[in-house]
Symmetry: C2
Subunit: 385 residues, 2 copies
């Protein structure tokens, strides 16, 4: 149940990619006939990704090596391209580590960044965000949903504010795309980052939606592929993979979203009912269908992960991108948790592979693992040992 | 015979990657046991790439999304990190378009770049390069071999000069790696770019060798993977692929190099003997074993490509990275060809799939295609129509 860290590729996606590894290995930039199927594949994949996010034109989608690269290109590309208009960027305190680190980098380059706080459920207030706008503001970047605590932001409202103030609006949709419907047109989104692996596509692939007319500049130089915005020979098998993954995600988004949210609700409800001093992090209803972030007082998350791992259950203590640092998640600190509570949190991210049986198994073993760990913890009050 | 533009993945490489797509999809940054095989795969691949280029430590190899990204990271990373020491960079006029465009970008950021001219065979003179060094020089970047004209540079001599002058030395080995032996230690190379697809590995993958102690800074921000130099969830299937490709390349480099150079020599010798006013571009002996760049006076290369394509022979008019612009190759102009001669050039890049039969077939049909096109060209002198 750790689908946020590493996702299995969908077998249908892998089947779609195979011929492009072994047979159709043309370079779309070549002159000869061999290149034509690569060009077609490229355009088909743009279409499929565009459809998943409600983009009007396939050409508005370009391909990158992943969510991190998409965020780098969107944020730095927009910041540098528009710096004559102003140097102020607004984002939030719970963005993905890549957005946070890109913004820190931009601050060193002379940009000013406002990190909007969120409430205890991880929600950004659009009104407060609007109040933070100055005449120097050139970019607003807010994630669609948070992959750790699941909270879905009021993107449409924020998009309206950005649009009315003629400010570029970037949305990191890595955790949300393919899980909940997104419509870049209705939501006034100018730039949107997607990661392939998070929609059961291959790793090392991502996409960036760039609304027609949006002014950004490349952050790397090369042969001028992807309209000069992302140079490098196109990874056609990967591009076919993300396209197929987007197509399948769109087909299944409603039914799978319903199924997963039922599993999640069963998990959350029963854990909160059966385990004392357990809490749900993030928003109770406005959250990703596949995400349950649960907190258990008096327990070290890492110990709990190990205990569950030995029973065959994979979960995470937060974003895999930063879990090697052993620092508590910046997201959990941003929603106001104390260090020890942040450390006692566990992220369940469910996916296609998970069934009700998996949830039942977690519900069967989790209480006793928690009980055993609490018995060992000096912090645990006598009455619940 | 257009292996420079798009290479088929080696079936053994694809077999090695498969389990990492479908079964071992762990994230090496996760905490649980599932992540261990990903971590191992990462280290094994570093080892294999390190061995191919004679690097002492696997940790000196980091993975990127391709040759273009490796060049961006090496050049900008070294330039920005060392700008307090100086702002002068030396490269050549025949580098890959990514290096040229990165250098142009750096010039806009206040760096000074010297583009060393090459001789008619595409050779850089180490002595002239040394003369260009100033006390502001912080970086020398010279490609190992040119993918278009095949010329192999005197890298060891240039490395010695860079080393003696305490200047970082970057080598773009995209066209050379896996085709001719490279030894980063003996050749005093600090930074070396590799592309996976050019060694029959998967697209969308590359590597950068960074000699221990070399000062470079990241060019993108994120979760801090690859020692903070290349953020983004590791593309484990791709990493396994480039590792396996490097392993196979090392096994076969001597025998395959010999086989290909014999095919190339047969092709070149017979073309020059049978087709009037045909010429070999690049160095006659110091050239990549798989490369033959042939020039046919009075002919448009694009027409020749089309003619051969209809007969089932794929060739290129130059770098696929720029062939869509229809500008003549900057490499051919740099070796002193007139525009019309550059346009009349054809690149044959042979690979594993090519046999002596393929060469015989080219030798069978090429003369008549050339003859027909020359008959149509108003430039052709009467005597050779």
């Amino acid at each position: 149940m750790d689908h946020a860290a590493g996702m299995p590729i969908n077998p249908r996606v892998f089947e779609a990619m195979k011929p492009y590894f072994t047979q159709n290995y043309g370079n779309p930039s070549s002159s000869h006939s061999f290149a034509a199927s690569a060009k077609n594949a490229l355009m088909e994949s743009r279409k499929k990704v565009a459809q998943l996010i409600g983009a009007e034109k396939p050409e508005e989608v370009i391909f990158t090596s992943g969510g991190t690269e998409s965020n780098n290109l969107a944020l730095k590309g927009a910041a540098y391209r528009n710096k004559k208009k102003g140097n102020h960027i607004i984002t939030t305190t719970i963005e993905h580590i890549s957005t946070i680190n890109i913004c820190k980098h931009l601050q060193k380059q002379g940009f000013e960044v406002t990190y909007m706080p969120v409430d205890k459920q991880g929600m950004v207030y659009p009104q407060k965000l609007e109040d933070a706008i100055t005449d120097k503001t050139i970019l607003i970047s807010v994630m669609y949903a948070n992959g750790e605590i699941g909270t879905i932001q009021p993107i449409k409202k924020i998009g309206k504010i950005a649009h009315e103030n003629q400010i570029h609006f970037h949305v990191d949709a890595v955790a949300a795309a393919g899980k909940i419907p997104i419509n870049v047109v209705e939501e006034n989104i100018d730039l949107l980052s997607i990661s392939s692996n998070d929609i059961y596509g291959p790793k090392g692939m991502g996409a960036l939606y760039i609304k027609k007319g949006t002014r950004i500049q490349p952050v790397s130089q090369g042969g001028g592929q992807e309209k000069g915005l992302r140079s490098g020979t196109e990874n056609i098998p990967g591009i076919v993979g993300i396209g197929k993954a987007a197509e399948i995600a769109q087909e299944e988004i409603i039914a799978e979203g319903k199924r997963l949210s039922q599993l999640r609700d069963k998990l959350v409800k029963n854990v909160l009912n059966t385990i004392e001093r357990s809490h749900l992090n993030g928003h109770p209803t406005k959250r990703l269908p596949n995400n349950a972030n649960l907190r258990f007082s008096y327990i070290e998350g890492e110990a709990l992960i190990l205990g569950l791992d030995m029973l065959g259950i994979q979960v995470s203590s937060g974003s895999a991108c930063t879990s090697k640092t052993l620092e508590p998640s910046h997201v959990l600190l941003a929603i106001g948790l104390a260090h020890e509570d942040a450390h006692g949190s566990l992220v369940f991210t469910m996916g296609k592979q998970n069934s009700e049986e998996d949830v039942d198994y977690v519900l069967e073993v989790l209480p006793s693992v928690v009980k055993r760990l609490r018995a060992m913890s000096p912090l645990t009050p006598k009455e619940i040992r």
